[in-house]
Point group: C2
Chain length 317, copies 2
């Protein structure tokens, strides 16, 4: 199977209605129409076998994840995804692998109406680079630098689950299966991102949690010139995570574990989190502070951050 | 050096004035403004070490090429490039390599006013995936399917040079140096592409020559439902190529050699090629025919296509 046949078979699908695709796959490039009054959002993320996922990971999970991590970035900007391109490097055109990969990719793309408009398949070590283009009404974007001291810190969902699920390759209990599923099929929080962007008159900062809650909150602090205090007992731990890891370790995983793809965001005092009406629960977990750095409290008393909590931007690795 | 430092040091540059970059590198995604009345063009191309370029290729040449092959696709659509993203997978953050790579990339990006708005650097086998976003006035695009029987076939520059230069790793003569340079630093024909798109009232087909003139012309034929006849003696062979390879082999290289990144295009009878006023010479080399397939003529007599001339879309490899 050569590149053209491969693209035809697995990656050419009719664009969803209203997707604005003028020219799709099959020419030197794609042409798309941006709705009037919208700004274009561009994100890109690469997954390398053996680095970001095990080389023997079920191909459907690779396809799902390659898009999910990008949609999560789109969500963190407050945008709506529309188009994607795929740069896929494969050791050999393995039909079974490709069929699974495409199924995982299209599952998620279909749910969010994302059209594949271009790509490049090449021979080489397994690497998946997806780029997603989206858009939002001009001026409504969510940036990392929007937080001010006194703003409250929120996180969506139940962080820590994915980090626990990462190692659970043969989940036994129901709790373990849930954690594994949260690792394998992270849900990009697009509805929440758009709900936050809809409050654009307020200064809202947002980021998606890929490296860990503390690490990613540190990016908001850095960009906003603030610090933060997190209340450990307010972390929204899932019952599955507590059952699996115990409460203390669960809190550590929630603070330091990666791969959750939840949104961490701040709201100024005048915005009520209950008004967001998003598709996921959000929990208030702390407050932004004028002094830099992130501190952790347990029942009002400061406690040390867990080891490997986060690194300041610019620290040596 | 971690990912953040690497991006800061080599890849963060102020966007050119008027580039429409609202949010550049450093957030979850970039935000750019498309000029009113324009459609968005999206292209992506991946280069894998050991497949598309030798692993020991001078890094500046890798950086230049990774962007050039994409700008060539933008040119073939008749569009103007504006923004790019870079997904760079590297075995290790090698400062010397990165400095060279970045220099080659920025050299070409600077000349065409392309802003780097996002990227992802990961650890793994050397792979460079560049995506370029450009735009053009709505409705002026050049597609592969625009050719009609009777349209004349043109090619820009002097095809075949790059294929000859590919193997010349230690060029000796001046001719060899020229061929090597044509391989290492292909010039994306953006001016020509825009000049062609400016004649959008006419049905013009265009493609960039990456796989070889016959192979890429075959894509135009396929998409347009036509064939073509090429006159061998009209091929614009460079003096350097003839000196290096002899006239007969030079013609073969011009027909079958890849990596030229010239434009192959068709013009309907009413459009005069002299009116294009582009930045590169173009030569009329044949005519589109109603019957499918590509034929080659030498002084009005049909001759066999060179071996490996081109493959029909859908042939087995």
């Amino acid at each position: 199977m050569d590149e053209f046949q491969l693209i035809e078979r697995y990656f050419r699908r009719p664009a969803p209605g209203g997707a604005g695709v003028e020219v799709g796959i099959g020419d030197d490039g794609a042409i798309v129409r941006l709705p009037p009054g919208r700004e274009l959002v561009v994100v890109v993320d690469t997954l390398v076998a053996g680095v970001h996922f095990p080389a023997d990971m079920v191909p459907a999970e690779v396809g799902y994840r390659a898009l999910a991590v990008n949609l999560s970035d789109v969500a963190a900007m407050g945008a709506e995804p529309a188009w994607m391109t795929l740069a896929l490097t494969l050791p050999a055109p393995d039909a079974d692998w490709l069929e699974g990969f495409a199924a995982g990719l299209w599952d998620l793309a279909g749910r969010h109406g994302v059209a594949l408009v271009g790509g490049d398949t090449t021979r080489g070590p397994l690497t998946v680079s997806v780029q997603v283009l989206g858009h939002l009404p001009a001026g409504t974007r969510l940036l990392r630098g929007g937080a001010r001291p006194g703003d409250r810190v929120f996180v969506s969902g139940t962080p820590g689950d994915a980090a626990a699920g990462l190692g659970l390759r043969s989940p036994g209990s129901e709790a373990e299966r849930r954690l594994r599923a949260r690792f394998l099929r992270p849900e990009p929080r697009l509805g929440l991102g758009r709900a936050l962007a809809g409050r654009a008159s307020a200064a809202i900062a947002a980021i998606d949690v890929s490296d860990g809650l503390l690490a990613d909150l540190a990016h908001i602090c850095e960009a906003s010139g603030t610090g933060a205090v997190i209340d450990e007992e307010r972390l929204p731990l899932s019952a599955a995570l507590i059952e699996f890891a115990g409460r203390e370790r669960a809190a550590e995983l929630a603070l330091t574990g990666g791969d959750d793809y939840e949104l961490c965001f701040t709201l100024p005092p005048e915005v009520d989190a209950h008004d967001l009406s998003a598709d996921v629960e959000v929990a208030e977990i702390g407050v932004m502070t004028p002094e830099p750095g992130i501190r952790l409290r347990r029942h009002e008393r400061e406690v040390p951050l867990p080891a490997g909590g986060y690194r300041h931007f610019g620290d040596d690795p």
